[in-house]
Every structure is written in structure tokens, then in C-alpha cells.
């Protein structure tokens, strides 16, 4: 979660939001979230699990470009 926040603070183009999956279960189901942390980029499920900063950026940018 903190990596997403750090990216948002580092770039005006990035918006980051944490969502508690139990309270927002409808949204979590809609995105196919089955494990946490689950990362959704531009409203599309991207991946689940914690990764280092460089890999996080790689995956976010790849998901945003797809």
C-alpha cells in the first residue's frame, strides 16, 4: 500500500487508493480479488502480492499500458 502512496506523491499523474476488501466486498468481487494485497490499475485487476519498488513500477506501468 505504501508503494502506491509513494508513487502518487511522486507524480501528479498517479492516484492511489487503499480499499478494505471486506467492507467493499462488491467492488473486490467485481475485480476478482481473492487474495490481498491485490492491485487494480485503472479499474482492471493487475496482480496480488507484495513486490519490490522496481517491480511494482514495472507492473503498474505495464498494466496501465495494456
Amino acid at each position: 500500500m505504501l508503494l502506491a502512496y509513494r508513487l502518487a506523491l511522486a507524480s501528479p499523474r498517479v492516484t492511489a487508493r487503499g480499499i478494505e476488501a471486506s467492507e467493499f466486498a462488491v467492488d473486490a468481487d467485481r475485480h476478482g480479488v481473492q487474495a490481498v494485497p491485490a492491485i487494480v490499475v485503472d479499474d482492471r485487476y493487475a496482480w496480488a502480492g507484495a513486490v519490490p519498488e522496481a517491480a511494482f513500477v514495472d507492473r503498474v506501468l505495464a498494466a496501465a499500458a495494456s
Binding site: 506523491l9 498517479v14 492511489a16 487503499g18 478494505e20 490499475v41 496501465a64
Partner: protein
């Protein structure tokens, strides 16, 4: 009725210590109201959790631990994605910041309170090349 403080003494001391690292003032906004898709959350033993009340207690308790942190509470009548906590104008957290997610709230405040980005130069360079806006949602749980 639960009359226990939202944070115990040791938690308060730990959070206060972390917030001492703030380099600038941070505004926090907490929005409360009826949820668009209500769910019932149960604690161990089957007790129903008042997520709105607990969220308010937790956010107020954390923000009270630093003079650099100010809190505004907004109560909505219309259903929406509440509770929503907005940190420093741009970082959002939807839901109750309890358990592990208390760390998200506290360290979100710390990140917003930095005067310089806390990512690597390589990351900064890649972000500067972004041509379109990107929204990152991270689904989490308190346990």
C-alpha cells in the same frame, strides 16, 4: 457499548514516535455516511463491528497525536464510499483503518508529511515519462 480507547497506551506512544518524523503539516479528511453497499463485519466471537464508529475513533486518535496533523470530519447524508479517509489531499483509504491497516493510515500520513519523494531516482524518472493518468487501487484487509 465499547468504552475502550481506540489506541492503547503503547500504540499511542508508537504512533506519536512515528509522527514525530513529519517534516510538514498534513491535513486529513474523514468522510462518514451511509455506505452504498452495506456489509456486516463480525469480530471474533460474533460481535458486530461498528465500522463507522471505530473508524472515527481510530482516525481521531491518530490525528490527535501530532500537532502537525489536522483533521476535518465530514458527515454525508447520501450513500457513498464511506468511510473515506483522505490524507494530504491526495491519498485515499476506503474503510476502517484497523489492524494492519492502522499502519497504512499512520505511514500514509508520514509519507504525505515528507518534503521530498521517497522513491528511487529510477522510479522518479519512469514516472516523469508518464503521458497518461494512472489510478492504483490496492485491496487490503485488517488481518
Amino acid at each position: 457499548m465499547n468504552t475502550r480507547p481506540a489506541l492503547g497506551e503503547r500504540e499511542q506512544e508508537a504512533v506519536r514516535s512515528v509522527l514525530e518524523g513529519l517534516e510538514r503539516d498534513v491535513e486529513v479528511k474523514l468522510e462518514l455516511g451511509p455506505t452504498a453497499t452495506p456489509v456486516t463485519l463480525l469480530a471474533a466471537g460474533g460481535r458486530e463491528i461498528d465500522s463507522i464508529g471505530l473508524t472515527r475513533d481510530l482516525v481521531e486518535a491518530v490525528c490527535a497525536l501530532s500537532q502537525r496533523v489536522s483533521l476535518t470530519v465530514v458527515e454525508h447524508d447520501e450513500p457513498g464510499p464511506w468511510p473515506r479517509t483522505t490524507i494530504g489531499g491526495g491519498l485515499e483509504y476506503l474503510g476502517m483503518p484497523a489492524g494492519y491497516e492502522l499502519t497504512t493510515l499512520v505511514h500514509g500520513i508520514v509519507e504525505a508529511g515528507r518534503t521530498e519523494p521517497s522513491v528511487t531516482e529510477a522510479t522518479l524518472a519512469r514516472l516523469e515519462a508518464l503521458e497518461n493518468d494512472v489510478t492504483i487501487d490496492v485491496y487490503v484487509t485488517p488481518t
